[in-house]
Amino acid sequence: MELFLSALRWIFDPDHWQSGSISPLPIQDRFLEHLRYTGTSMAIAAVIALPLGFFIGHYGRGRQFVITFTGAMRALPTLGLLYFLLMVFGYWLSFDTAPLVGSTIAFVILAIPSMLAGAYSGLESVDRQTIDAARASGMTEWQILVRVEIPLALPLIVGGVRAAALQVIATVTIASYAGLGGLGRIITSGIGLNDYDRILGGALLVTALALVVDGLFALVQRVTATPGLSEHRPAAPRRTISRSPRPRTPKIA
């Protein structure tokens, strides 16, 4: 407990937030770096994964591909992928751009499966009758996708983005080991200096960042849920149709 208190004191020490201190301080610089890497790679991954997931979900083609692909990607060791890309790009690019490009690509690769699975399974969770009704009322396929399927699937889509964000935040921490910035840098330098307050302080900062981001996405998931569709929330177990403790009809009162 004493160690935690002293780590917290380390975090809140104003000296460690002073701009212009020796790297890896000040903390806010590493914090912003961490967010920047995460944000950039998430944006790139979203541009690739979400449209693909929507396509597969809408047409129902390539389901097996998504399942196999996401399963196989889960088996890929992050550290190995990261180091592999860093080395490959190290051959081509200059010393200062290689870590950034290599690790960003690694983050993108790691973020894609969750986003793809979220987008795909979100669309698949939409009631067939609802889609048929939309089609019967004269909507084009594009309108069905944009106005019916995506809004109804939004909590699950956001759920995929949420999982991807956590994966990237965790991996950025590891990437500090390979010379990238970010909060992991604080842990790494702490290990080098044998400074426990610093190690633990860095670890707590990353954990706090992950928890806050996770909480924000959880909130977004709740906000984007279509009212009256509570049983489609991602928390619902998959096969409880026949044995749900609650009545399936929406509450009236």
Partner: protein
């Protein structure tokens, strides 16, 4: 291939360690998660507690957890126990949720029927609920297995000797082959573990074989008549 040929002993030893470090957390997380899943299925408050705590733990990034853990459980920083405990925590976080879902997937009428023919609650759990929850439990343990094997390699940062050593050493010495070999063996291990788990599942649940490939396939282009053929959504 030169590096590989010259370092077969090292590769063999690291692979062996990697397997050892993976098996324990996988087995432990199953053993710990099953009672938690059972608890979570008793009432809604416990369910949300188990799932919330599980997802919070799962949220903690791996490197910080590896670093924080020794301070909490009082081990030395470079002790292999840290890695096993950390991986077990992640495994339980996935598996408890999965176990709760698995037990919830058992048909209520079947449970009522087994009560009616005279099963005590313990016997009913062991001989009716558990076997019927088997397929979903199996799916959960497969996820745990794959992610554990991939995560073990991060442990090299806290001094654990496993395939992650090939990544770190390969990067430091600039031997790309070493990193690639590490990745390939890690993928291969994940595949072998998965096949073994599926095989164990087949042996324990011979009635489940026709179920392979998922219970239902979505009809490709939805049309009005497909509603008659398609099973209820959410059942996939």
């Amino acid at each position: 291939m030169k590096w590989t040929r010259e370092n077969l002993d090292l590769i063999r030893e690291l692979t062996f360690n990697h397997v050892q470090l993976s098996i324990l957390p996988i087995v432990l997380s199953f053993v710990i998660a099953l009672p938690l899943g059972w608890l979570a299925n008793r009432n809604r408050v416990l369910r949300s507690v188990v799932i919330t705590v599980g997802s919070l733990l799962y949220t903690i990034p791996s490197l910080p957890l590896f670093v924080i853990l020794p301070l909490i459980i009082g081990t030395r920083v470079l002790d292999a126990t840290n890695l096993v405990v950390a991986l077990t925590i992640y495994g339980v976080a996935i598996m408890a949720r999965s176990a709760a879902d698995a037990l919830a997937s058992v048909d209520k009428t079947t449970i009522d029927a087994s009560t009616a023919v005279g099963y005590s609650s313990t016997a009913r759990f062991l001989r009716v609920e558990l076997p019927l929850a088997g397929p979903v439990l199996l799916a959960g343990i497969r996820v745990v297995s794959v992610s554990t094997i991939a995560l073990v390699s991060v442990g090299v940062i806290i001094g654990s000797q496993n395939l992650g050593y090939l990544f770190q050493n390969g990067k430091q010495r600039g031997i790309l082959e070493e990193v690639i070999v590490g990745i390939l063996i890690s993928l291969l291990l994940a595949l072998i573990f998965d096949l073994v788990i599926v095989l164990i599942g087949r042996l324990l649940m011979p009635w489940n074989q026709s179920d392979r490939g998922g219970p239902s396939k979505r009809i490709a282009v939805p049309g009005a008549e497909s509603q008659l053929l398609a099973p209820s959504p959410g059942d996939t």
